[in-house]
């Protein structure tokens, strides 16, 4: 009896490991496939074997040397736009969500509902309007336009931050207020250090949001030297998808690696951030 129980447990463990391995292969396969493809000689999507007979870095070199792509310029552009949007969005989201969570003032519930409702509009429904506004402000084909729009729109996605601040005990800032701290001091000295996981989460998502957005970037950025990586890669896929797949793979790897590494290293914060906002709904 005891023995039967044990072998049944062992069997279930083996099955569980087997499922995990299969799932892990599914999860990793596309990433590894692109990585390997980017190192394969030639340009074709098709390859008779998974691992090529020899590896080459020529596609990576071509990205930066071939004048048709200007990959290096796009990379710098994207880095600039993503970093600045991250900075501004994080500031705006933290400020607004902190006050919406912490203070009880007239119009608060209305503001919350309005924000929630606005966040549900299909984003590019308003693209034409924003396009014309940018045209009037003389901002078309500039990076400032993208940064402005990404940061201004970021507040709508900040509910998770509000959920996080809702969980921090109010006695904390009340005590500080009694000790004579101003609201700004409470915010900077007490709340900001406490919200490190949340800030990381917000910064990360707004950085990646700007890093990979192409719908809006494609609309605003007209000249090739102003493009971001997303627009460039999209163009690459649409113009030469099957004729130069390995180059596309190399470009993808260079876009994906920094973000992926960031996510993996900041996983702890990420999980905390997601769940902190989540358990509050």
């Amino acid at each position: 009896m005891k023995l039967g129980q044990k072998s049944a447990n062992g069997l279930s463990l083996i099955i569980r490991y087997a499922i995990l391995v299969v799932l892990a292969v599914c999860a990793l396969y596309p990433a590894i496939w692109v990585l390997v493809s980017s190192l394969r000689p030639g340009t074709s999507l098709f390859s008779p074997t998974f691992f090529p007979e020899q590896f080459t870095f020529i596609h990576y070199k071509e990205l930066f040397t071939n004048d048709r792509y200007q990959y290096g310029t796009w990379y710098v552009n994207t880095l600039k736009i993503a970093t600045l949007s991250m900075l501004f969005s994080t500031i705006l989201i933290t400020l607004s969500m902190y006050s919406l969570s912490r203070f009880r003032f007239k119009g608060r519930q209305t503001t919350l509902t309005i924000l929630l409702v606005l966040g549900m509009f299909p984003g590019f429904m308003s693209m034409i309007a924003i396009f014309i506004v940018l045209l009037q402000l003389n901002l078309l084909d500039t990076h400032a336009a993208l940064i402005l729009v990404y940061s201004a729109g970021s507040v709508l996605g900040g509910f998770i931050v509000k959920g996080f601040y809702d969980t921090i005990p109010r006695s904390l800032d009340e005590a500080a207020r009694i000790d004579g701290a101003s609201h700004m001091q409470v915010f900077v000295k007490i709340m900001l250090p406490l919200s490190k996981p949340m800030l990381t989460y917000v910064a990360l998502t707004s950085f990646t949001g700007a890093w990979v957005d192409f719908i809006f970037a494609r609309l605003v950025l007209r000249s090739k030297e102003n493009w971001t990586l997303a627009v460039g890669m999209w163009d690459l896929v649409n113009t030469s998808q099957n004729s130069n797949f390995t180059l596309f793979a190399a470009g993808s790897v260079l876009i994906a690696i920094p973000i992926t590494l960031l996510f993996v290293f900041l996983q702890r914060f990420l999980v905390q951030g997601l769940t902190a906002g989540a358990s509050k709904g």
Binding site: N9, L13, Y17, L20, L23, A24, A27, P30, A31, W33, V34, F46, L95, S99, L100, F103, R108, L115, L116, V117, L118, M120, F121, P122, F124, M125, S126, I128, A129, I130, V133, Q136, L148, A152, G153, L156, K162, D166, R170, S182, H183, M233, W234, V237, Q241, N242, I255, A256, I259, T260, V264, Q267, L270, V271, L274, T275, A278, S279, K280, G281
Partner: protein, 437 residues
């Protein structure tokens, strides 16, 4: 002695800031006056045109006119520019009006305080009041301006478009004018055969897709989370990292890669299938298979998010519940059914609804993977896998059916807003907001 409040208020009605100057609040008064001057310099030349533009959408078509002996091209009114710049002017005017009312109120209250024999607050005191009592307003003012001009205004603009005939081929400025047509666009969408056929077809697929996508990623995520967190599994951290990877890779990249992976001719998946002696599958080219592919790929993208969420909730389940169940001799399945599942379902119910709403709007997966294809001959500008949102995108950017896409946008919005507000009102964060201490 209660003349001050009346005089100050009247002065402020006449000229912004004058009442403050009268109340001897020099800095504040000058600041208000500067705003006043700037506003009039901007508004006076524009306000009339703005109202005329929004009401009429322009009156003169582009055309040719005889000047002397030659025909000269005369620029007509550009309805859309008139509409949007009119809207911007009206928004600025509204902001100005709010400031104006605040200014009068401020002059009145300060005057009243003077009537009661108090000193009017100096600029330093006013500033202190602002950063103390009005702190949340101060913090929210900057985001509010951003949201006002880059979210609210464009949305109002789009809503207005739904009530015009702004569409290719007959009503595209600057060649021709756009007119207000009331509910005609909506009527066309719902009753005109070509439009309604596409609309209800796409709507049906959107709903089916959203249900399947939500259910598969949710329960897929739960399965993975339970597996990784189950007792005798080792290297938990490693498994977690592996399964979080699809979430970490930017969607833009992973989806474009998937598009190649599922390529019917050269893609490795079909290559493996034929290696095992199975036929190649039309992953992206057959309507039904394309739908299956989209759902499969969405599972790959979406399961990690659910997994992370559910892992977080699993750790929050009190351990003594399981211990009690063990004492009672419950099997693993029973423990899952009676403790784990209800607990997880209860804490994720609002998120589930939000994910459902998000899937209705899931632009990326469809657009990057299939671009809505394969083409459906019965549809107006839409393919077999198009969701309402991607159809809207195509109508706007490829087919210039601006009024129709705006109408569809409003319909999507109504569906999603209903769902989300309903779930938000039921969520813990709304009900118990003030209970956390």
């Amino acid at each position: 002695m209660n003349r001050h409040r009346g005089i100050a208020a009247i002065l402020s009605v006449l000229v912004m800031g004058l009442g403050q100057l009268y109340n001897r609040q020099i800095v504040k008064g000058l600041l208000y006056m500067a705003v006043y001057a700037a506003a009039w310099i901007y508004l006076i030349p524009q306000l009339g045109t703005a109202i005329w533009g929004v009401v009429t959408l322009g009156e003169k078509t582009q055309g040719f006119q005889k000047v002397g002996k030659v025909m000269v091209r005369v620029e007509g009114d550009h309805s859309i520019y008139l509409l949007i710049s009119g809207l911007i002017t009206l928004f600025v005017f509204a902001v100005f009006l709010i400031l104006y009312i605040l200014n009068i109120r401020d002059a009145y209250w300060t005057g009243k305080r003077r009537d009661q024999g108090e000193q009017p607050a100096g600029f330093k005191q006013s500033w202190a009041h602002l950063t103390d009592k009005k702190f949340p307003y101060l913090m929210l003012s900057l985001p509010a301006v951003g949201v006002l001009f880059f979210t609210i205004m464009p949305i109002i603009f789009m809503i207005m478009l739904a009530f015009t005939n702004y569409a290719s081929p007959n009503h595209i400025p600057p060649k021709s004018l756009v007119d207000w047509v009331g509910f005609e666009t909506f009527t066309n969408l719902l009753t005109l055969k070509t439009w309604s056929g596409t609309f209800f077809g796409v709507l049906t697929w959107t709903v089916i897709w959203a249900i399947i996508a939500t259910v598969t990623t949710y329960f897929g995520g739960m399965l993975v989370a339970l597996l990784v967190e189950s007792k005798s599994i080792r290297f938990k951290k490693m498994w977690r990292t592996i399964f979080i990877l699809p979430y970490a890779i930017p969607q833009l990249i992973s989806l474009l890669v998937m598009r190649n992976l599922f390529n019917g001719q050269f893609g490795p998946i079909n290559q493996y299938l034929s290696y095992f002696g199975l036929g190649k599958l039309p992953w992206l080219t057959d309507p039904l298979w394309a739908k299956v592919t989209v759902i499969l790929v969405n599972m790959w993208v979406g399961i990690p998010v659910s997994m992370v969420l559910i892992m977080g909730i699993l750790t929050a389940i009190p351990k003594d519940l399981y211990e009690a169940a063990d004492v009672d001799g419950a099997s693993g399945l029973q423990k899952f059914r009676i403790i784990t599942l209800p607990f997880v379902l209860f804490s994720t119910a609002p998120i589930l609804i939000m994910q459902f709403a998000g899937n209705i709007n899931n632009f990326n997966v469809i657009f990057l993977l299939t671009n809505g294809d394969p083409v459906n001959g019965n549809y107006q500008y839409a393919g077999s896998t198009d969701l309402l949102v991607t159809w809207l995108y195509k109508l706007t950017l490829n087919n210039s059916q601006f009024n129709m896409s705006a109408a569809i946008g409003i319909i999507i919005f109504i569906i999603i807003a209903t769902l989300s507000i309903w779930s938000y009102r039921r969520s813990k964060s709304y009900k118990e907001e003030d209970m956390i201490q």
